[in-house]
Amino acid sequence: MSQVAESSHASTSTGIDHKKLIMWLFLASDCMFFGTLISTHLLYRKLYPTGFTDAEGHQRFIQNLFNIELTSFSTFILLMSSFLMALAVSAMHKGQIKSFRRNVLGVIFFGLIFLGCQVYEFTHFFHQGLTIQNSVFGSTFYVLTGTHGTHVAIGVLWLILLYFYSFTGKLFGHMGALDVEVAGLYWHFVDIVWIIIFTAVYLVEYLGPSGFWGTGLPITK
């Protein structure tokens, strides 16, 4: 049985719901936030193209550190989670709460896989000798991707809470769809930030024989 959008809400000057407008404002602000972090990382890559020096004093190359297959997999997972989120929102608009729950569970699941990949990646790099303390690259990389991961984690928490809230019977109609849509906007944003990070932080390290930044040194293991 579908109960679609009945507007029990005061109409606004633009016709846009307050919650939606404020979320878009937040996302515009978050662009500046991630822009600062990403540009800090890129700036230091530009200044120090050779990679990083690990705890034993060995020169290490980013290409050899990164596991592009794993990261590609986690990128794909996050993209697919975005797809499921769009389906969840769509289900709410159609009033299909069960479909919503299935899809949102999928988003949560994929989000957790993404986070798992991140944790694995961080541990792997740590054992490979990259720490926050021993290099500028370590600092910028971990803080940038860690901040993104924190955003994902907050999103996952939000969706888990929404999932349980949907069982109280209070998530329905226009306002229910709006609440889910707003959570969806946040989730999609976190996804597109990752698209940018994936390209600018990971993929460019593989361009050409010595990566985009050009290490100037022959790449050895």
Partner: protein, 679 residues
């Protein structure tokens, strides 16, 4: 139901039956006294609290300034130690900007914007309360550093292990309000305990976390206001009919949401450097301290426009009212405000002309900085155009706004002098810079804000401030401030450097420093008098009518003080300056068919924003405690995080609630009363 409103509209909230929220807790809608103020979501009460805190912190910052000036009155003075001096100017700057001017502007935004657009409240009333309490948390965190400093100086901590093992014992921040790296950061290699060697003690940590919390408060408020102004305007209130003050609120809020992220990240990076041994600004590991300067000023330059645009908005309301003419060139003034905001993002490196950026970047930033003078100048000409041919009434708000035009212009001139990079090479880090920014901040922003206070106090409290004291106080402020900061132009060009706790005799600086100190004290007396007048007004001021100034904008059509529901019936606007036109034979304000016995929907009050704000307070005190090595400080932080999340979660779950308040059915605006006799 997402809107559980009480079924019957009530005449007063005290008549409500106790109602439970979705969580099962009783909603605090029927609170009175302090509980009412702590749980309020009413923009007017929140505005008053912002204003009260701001005025308090203005005085705190003022005391810090007077201590600075006392130290500098004579050469080789030892009124304070060098470290205390550094702490004083750091806290003075940080307090005045973040705890003085910004909250006072926020007070005006809060009180006026919904009234000026014909709305019931802001878009998210509980978020508004959250902004206030988070601001209070940040202010307390920052100033608690003083408590620790005095504790240290008094020897309270001498017997504690954590104190004895501290490398640095500065508890109040001392790196300037901009806290440049690497002084505020780390150097060398991090050791096994994660703590890379630092140059400064826990004072810097107080500054970092204090500013982060204040940033959250500002951001939350700004999102709210943009949403309100775009989405909650009364019928017929198009964007181009908005009062200029509301426009400036919108531009300022947009600046805040786009500029604060830069400093949020910079603070995170600095915190990671200090706490976790990261290398963002650590020169030994290849970090670039100049990055801090870039990130700080990418925030910092828009920040100064965040400070000045609200004051300009106030002046744009006061001048037309007391000239009896509409604002000259309204669209241009609005457009200039927007251009100033936009260009404000393009000029940050003019704070860095002497850092060796290179000839091309330096020239580019110099040109852009000069370009910003253009829309500012346009505004000034439009204000003059407003005055020209008008019937000027020299009321206290008008005197202060006129003072703004003149003093801000002087500050602008010294600013343009700075924009010429070669000249700036001499002026940088000298007292000339101090003269410049105090002219724009005191002569500009403060006079504008004081003008707003005297202008709108009658609306807020329904009482008139004492006119004679207002004139005397304004005179003292203008005299004192010019005496204090005028000579600094000379002192700067004669070579006196900034941020130095003393100077030797024989440089020719003695006389003017002494004069400046006298000016500072006169300024202090003036400010104190001005504030005392306002506080006295709240309790004993002469009661006034709804519209003692023959105002132009919607808020003057309401009773003074404004009733809780704002508008008995929502207005329908047909023109700019709708209230003035309605009074004086122009288009009338219409009214919608809401309110009356059916009631107006009022949002429920809530404890949750306060709880969430309290969580921030715990985090804010806990983190520096952690830096100090106080045992179990980590638990304070974790509990603080928990309290904050709990507050937000319960806030989300309790539901907006709400009740219906009956409003009077008489809808015509109160007739204009002639100006009261003392004006």
């Amino acid at each position: 139901m997402s809107h559980d409103t009480h079924h019957a509209p009530v005449a007063s909230k005290l008549e409500l039956a106790p109602e439970r929220s979705d969580l099962g807790l009783i909603r605090p809608d029927r609170s009175t006294g302090w509980a009412d103020w702590l749980t309020t979501v009413d923009h007017k009460k929140i505005g008053i609290m912002y204003g009260a805190f701001a005025m308090l912190f203005f005085l705190v910052g003022g005391v810090e300034a007077l201590a600075i000036r006392t130290q500098l009155a004579r050469p080789d003075n030892d009124f304070v130690t060098a470290r205390m001096y550094n702490q004083l100017f750091t806290m003075h700057g940080t307090t005045m900007i973040f705890l003085g001017v910004m909250p006072l502007s926020a007070a005006f935004f809060n009180f006026l914007v919904p009234l000026q657009i014909g709305a019931r409240d802001v878009a998210f009333p509980r978020l508004n309360a959250f902004s206030l309490w988070t601001f209070v948390a940040g202010a307390l965190v920052l100033n608690s550093s003083w408590l620790f400093e005095f504790g240290h100086l008094s020897g309270w901590f001498n017997n504690f292990d954590w104190y004895k093992s501290l490398v640095y014992t500065d508890f109040a921040p001392a790196n300037g309000w901009f806290s440049y790296a690497p002084l505020s950061g780390t150097f060398g290699q991090a050791n096994a305990a994660l703590h890379a060697p630092r140059f400064t003690g826990v004072g810097t940590d107080f500054w970092i976390i204090g500013l982060q919390i204040l940033g959250v408060a500002s951001l939350a408020a700004s999102f709210n206001f943009i949403c309100t102004i775009i989405n909650m305007r009364a019928k017929g209130m198009t964007m181009m009919r908005l009062p200029v003050f509301t426009w400036m609120t919108l531009v300022t809020s947009i600046l805040i949401i786009l500029a604060f992220p830069a400093i949020t990240v910079a603070l995170i990076e600095l915190m990671f450097d200090r706490q976790f041994g990261a290398n963002f600004f650590n020169p030994s590991a290849g970090g670039q301290p100049i990055l801090w300067q870039h990130l700080f000023w990418i925030f910092g330059h828009p920040e100064v426009y965040i400070l000045v645009l609200p004051a300009m908005g106030i002046v744009s309301e006061v001048l037309p009212t007391f000239s009896g003419k509409s604002l000259f060139g309204y669209p241009i003034i609005v457009f200039s405000g927007a251009v100033i905001g936009f260009l404000g993002f393009a000029v940050w490196s003019h704070h860095m002309f002497t850092t060796g950026l290179g000839a091309v970047p330096t020239a580019a930033f110099a040109l852009l900085t000069m370009a910003i003078a253009v829309p500012t100048g346009v505004k000034i000409f439009n204000w003059l155009g407003t005055l020209w041919g008008g019937r000027i009434r020299f009321t206290p708000p008008m005197v202060l706004s006129l003072g703004f035009i003149w003093m801000f212009m002087c500050g602008g001139f010294s600013g343009v002098m700075h924009s010429a990079a070669p000249a700036d090479a001499q002026q940088q880090d000298s007292y000339f810079v101090i003269a410049h920014f105090h002219y724009v901040l005191l002569g500009g922003v403060l006079l504008g804000l004081m003008s707003g206070l005297y202008f709108w106090f009658p609306k807020i409290f329904g009482r008139m401030p004492n006119a004679s004291i207002a004139y005397i106080a304004s005179g003292l402020v203008i005299l004192g401030f010019n005496l204090a900061f005028g000579p600094m132009h000379y002192l700067g060009l004669a070579g006196q450097p900034r941020r130095t706790h003393t100077y030797h005799a024989g440089n020719g600086w003695e006389t003017w420093n002494y004069v400046a100190t006298i000016g500072a004290f006169i300024l202090g007396i003036g400010i104190f008098l001005a504030f005392a007048n306002l506080v006295w007004t709240v309790f004993k001021g002469e009661k006034c009518s709804n519209d003692p100034w023959d105002g132009r904008t919607l808020e003057w059509s309401l009773p003074s003080p404004v009733p809780e529901y704002n508008f008995a019936r929502s207005p329908i606007i047909a023109t700019r300056d709708a209230h003035f036109e309605d009074k004086h034979g122009g288009k009338k304000i219409g009214f919608e068919n809401d309110g009356g016995d059916a009631g107006v929907h009022m949002p429920s009050q809530s404890w949750m924003p306060l709880v969430a704000g309290f969580g921030f307070l715990m985090i804010g005190i806990g983190m520096p405690l952690l830096s100090m090595g106080v045992p179990r400080a980590g638990w304070v932080v974790i509990s603080g995080l928990g309290v904050m999340f709990l507050g937000i979660w319960l806030w989300a779950l309790e539901g907006p609630g709400g009740y219906m308040l009956k409003t009077p059915t008489k809808t015509s605006p109160t007739p204009v009363t002639a100006n009261t006799s003392s004006y």
